[in-house]
């Protein structure tokens, strides 16, 4: 009887431990499948990108204007930013996040070695006027999905370190509030 009790407690402890660790504190569990990359309850699919602006060497053409830079986020790329307001080449990354879990999650950060900065943005269309705005997070509904696509949410690399060549790929790390971080591969499509 006592043995059974101990066994039950041990099993319970194991179960608790299994659920208790969060992906944020451990290495991300990446399970690539044919239809996308899975982390926890989230499945990330159709990750693609394209160049959205001039090639990186366009920065050389920028006229130095020593204004408003102090407002910009301090980053590793701050030295090149000091040249002027020109932020170099930009791109956009699009993807679909499916959530099979019963709790909502949020995409809170994206990063990549491809650019000095990576931000989360959205586009709004108001009476034919397009407005781009940075967003703090992109909500992923419970048992649902959110699509980052042209004309809506996008991950925006700012200050590309190299041109985005169609056919090539690059890594983007996505950080979710609950599911933790996961690195996915964005394939570059032609314009």
């Amino acid at each position: 009887m006592r043995f059974r009790m101990i066994l039950a407690v041990a099993v319970c402890a194991l179960i608790l431990a299994a659920c208790g660790t969060t992906a944020a504190t451990t290495a991300p569990t990446v399970v690539p499948t044919a239809s996308g990359t899975t982390i926890g309850d989230l499945q990330i699919a159709d990750v693609w990108s394209r160049q959205a602006g001039p090639m990186p060497d366009a920065m050389d053409d920028a006229k130095p204007t020593a204004s408003t830079i102090s407002d910009a986020k301090p980053t590793a790329g701050a030295s090149s930013m000091a040249m002027g307001e020109d932020t170099g080449a930009v791109g956009a990354v699009y993807l679909t996040i499916r959530n099979s879990g019963s709790a909502p999650d949020r995409l809170i950060k994206a990063s990549s070695a491809i650019a000095k900065n990576v931000e989360l943005h959205t586009m709004l269309l108001n009476d034919g006027v397009m407005e781009m705005r940075p967003v703090e997070a992109i909500d992923v509904p419970a048992s649902g999905e959110v699509a980052l696509k042209p004309g809506g949410f996008h991950v925006m690399p700012i200050g590309l370190n190299k041109a985005l060549t169609p056919g090539e790929t690059f890594d983007v790390t996505l950080q979710f509030e609950k599911a933790g971080s996961v690195t996915v591969q964005a394939s570059i499509r032609p314009l």
């Binding site: 034919g128 397009m130 781009m132 004309g151």
Partner: protein
């Protein structure tokens, strides 16, 4: 034989109708400006370094965009859609000039515009100038272009702007607006007709 004779007259009538309207009848897919406006003339600097005067483009259809090179999403979408329309139109595309007027002249130098435009199609032109040159054009075409500072973004600022494409026909008449969500086939359809007819 009897069937053939019975068919002869309808076929003749159909052939006459086709000859009368070689370009076919057409319903425009975009927003039609009725009556068409005379497109306000302007001169700006193309990314090639050459001056670009709108009135010198008579004989060509001019598609005017207003945008900026730090626009990550809508501007590239509009321009890559237009590049796709050009591929669809084939030789008809030679009768069309695409031009993007920057609404961010402080950042969009001709050199930066060149790098932006040539990604899409080698014939597309990026037009820039001084703020004083561009403001009156923005006003004349009723374009919304509002600078918004983005203190938490590496972009520093963005420009909210109208996402319409202005269709100016071979006679310098601004006659249609392409809406931002118009699809490639619809735009190609309208342009093919305008090129065929020699005007809106």
């Amino acid at each position: 034989m009897a069937i053939k004779r019975r068919l002869f007259i309808p076929i003749l009538l159909l052939a006459c109708l086709l000859l009368l309207s070689a370009c076919g009848s057409h319903t425009y897919h975009g927003t039609v400006i009725d009556p068409p406006n005379d497109a306000t003339d302007f001169t700006l600097t193309a990314h090639t370094g050459q001056p670009f005067r709108l009135s010198e483009q008579r004989g060509k259809v001019v598609l005017l965009f207003f945008g900026f090179t730090h626009c990550p999403d809508v501007c590239p979408t509009a321009l890559s859609d237009m590049a796709a329309v050009f591929r669809k139109l084939g030789p008809d595309a030679e009768q069309i000039q695409v031009a993007l007027i920057t609404i961010d002249p402080e950042r969009d130098t001709p050199a930066r515009m060149e790098k932006f435009m040539t990604i899409f199609n080698p014939t597309f032109l990026g037009l820039s100038g001084t703020r004083a040159e561009i403001e009156p054009i923005i006003k004349a075409y009723g374009v919304t272009a509002k600078r918004r500072d983005l203190p938490n973004s590496a972009l520093v600022y963005t420009v909210d702007h109208s996402a319409f494409t202005y269709v100016i026909d071979q006679n310098g008449k601004w006659s249609e607006l392409f809406n931002p969500d118009m699809d490639i086939d619809a735009m190609a359809d309208d342009l093919r007709y305008i090129v065929c007819k020699g005007g809106f």
